[in-house]
Amino acid sequence: MSALRVNTGEGREPSPASEPLLRVAGLEAVYGASIAALHHIDLTVRPGEIVALLGSNGAGKTTTLKAISNLLPAQRGKVSRGEIHFDGHDVLKKSPSALARLGLVQVLEGRHCFRTLSVEENLITGGLGRSSSRREIAEDLEKVYAIFPRLKEKRKSRAGLASGGEQQMTAIGRALMTRPRLLVLDEPSMGLAPLTVQAIFKALAELNESAGLAILVAEQNAAVALRFAHRVAVIENGTSVVNESAAEFRRRSDVQSFYLGGGATIASGEAGEVLLQQQQISNKSAHSTF
């Protein structure tokens, strides 16, 4: 059962090596005229792959993801160096809506539902950018409701009044309505109960397996993200410092610092005894929440 595989995280290996769907190389980004947010980010996502982007508060996860969807200009930021390619296209030369039509879409940090629109209207907006036909929208709605049955019950209510979990599902469903090939998610677990987080990640893992949807997900909740990802990238102070398979990453004890919300020693590779002990403790607690 796929759900089981999500929970154990074992046996989830990346798909065979192929041309990357997304390639970020030497990315440097600034806000305003000079506030440097990213110094050097390298990152790839291959077709059908789930990549977890980890890092502590302010490390630059959100900035990296916004750069990938070319959303930085709308936040008075810009990419000052480096390149981003999605499926051979230069992301920095495409508008966010053009990228969405190419199959790259993002679920923003903090969900950003259209609060005064109903849940179903929120979903439909995802189909407008690609000019989906009426029939396509109806089909896609049914698919989203099959993935998140709760949304069907809430379809007529205002998104602003939905619970945090329902809003996150709405935001994901809305992104799925664009028929993406790469779904980018920024901290989908933020502020949600463990059971809700599990349900959401399970749905995403199923989409990945059944439809080959590639996923790039930034998370502070490393425990959840690691269980589900094929590969891990870690950002520290605007620089990517780790880029390896999730299995290998889990084996290394310096994963530890994430469980504690730290992140200062990730790259150093100094796996001390203390860290090992701490990992065992937090592994236990991480499992007990599920």
């Binding site: 709308a74 966010p96 809506s97 259209f114 609060r115 005064t116 629109l117 907006t125 009044l161």
Partner: protein, 299 residues
């Protein structure tokens, strides 16, 4: 009988005020549409009203029929909307609101100047063929023109509401108005939506221009209807269509009542500033307006 309060007269004044208020709302709605999608206070709205009225009246004076002049003016307003959005606002996207405001300020003078260049500067009378005869409704005398103008304005508002409720562009508009950044991230084509809204605002200006123009005459001071809409926006909230409808009605009613009942004591001229006094009071009490800026929050 000198001391008895004349309720019929009061009602007449009140209804007259409300009907005028509907026309204030109409101008204010043009602002709200653009504010909600582009986040800019479009100072050029008044010039658009003037431009529409002047174009229409000049075309009819050159022998075009009412319908033909209306169609050509509507097309001109649509083109104006497309040009403004694409040539002026799109290059300035992501700039601070002050920059956008300055751009629309400049735009308002350019549109006025353009109108003058095109059609000359003389005053025109605009005849819509509606007789301004008083109509008796349950004892009250009501201006037939006001009644029809209010009816047209209400119809325009109804059409807009249906458009925003039931069309794709309308849904996209509401999404952008709700959360522009999310709309961008989910792939909505903002430039298209904003262009559509500028066209809609242009058509609203056209209707407002015809109604106000036939009441005040088509002249350059017509662009000052902006100043009438401002208190309405403060009262109703810059981002709320229902708000500015109610705001327009309130301002219209209070203004007329104040003019009739307070005017004699303060020596007249009260309608020039009374609306602003109300707006100022409102700013102090409820800065977001009646319905504006109220976010839907789950507690």
């Amino acid at each position: 009988m000198d001391n008895a309060f004349d309720w019929t007269f009061f009602s007449e004044v009140l209804v007259g005020g409300l009907l005028a208020g509907v026309m204030y709302s109409l101008v204010a709605i043009g602002f709200v549409l653009i504010y909600k999608t582009s986040g800019v206070f479009n100072f050029a709205q008044g010039s658009m009203v003037l431009f529409a009225a002047l174009t229409f009246v000049s075309l009819t004076e050159r022998g075009l029929s009412f319908g033909a002049a209306l169609a050509v003016t509507a097309a001109a307003m649509a083109v104006l909307g497309i040009v403004v959005e694409n040539a002026v606002l799109r290059p300035l996207v992501n700039r601070p609101p002050v920059t956008l405001f300055m751009a629309t300020l400049g735009l308002s003078y350019i549109i006025e100047g353009g109108a003058q260049l095109l059609w000359g500067a003389q005053v025109h009378a605009l005849e819509l063929g509606i007789q301004d005869t008083p109509l008796e409704v349950s004892g009250m005398l009501i201006s037939k023109f006001d009644l029809i103008a209010a009816g047209i304005s209400a119809g325009m508002v109804a059409v807009l509401s249906l458009f925003f409720r039931y069309t794709r562009t309308g849904l996209a508009f509401r999404a952008v108005a709700d959360d522009t950044f999310a709309a961008l991230a989910v792939g909505l084509r903002l430039p298209r939506i904003r262009t559509a809204v500028w066209i809609a605002a242009g058509l609203v200006s056209l209707v407002a221009g015809l109604l106000w123009g036939s009441r005040l005459g088509v002249q350059f001071s017509l662009s000052l209807v902006v100043l009438k809409a401002l208190p309405v926006l403060v009262l109703g909230g810059f981002d709320s269509v229902p708000g500015v409808i109610v705001g327009g009605l309130l301002i219209g009613a209070f203004e007329k009542l104040a003019e009739v009942y307070l005017g004699p004591y303060v020596g007249g001229g009260i309608e020039g500033w009374f609306a602003y006094a109300i707006a100022l009071l409102f700013l102090l009490i409820r800065p977001a307006g009646l319905f504006g800026g109220r976010t839907l929050e789950r507690v």
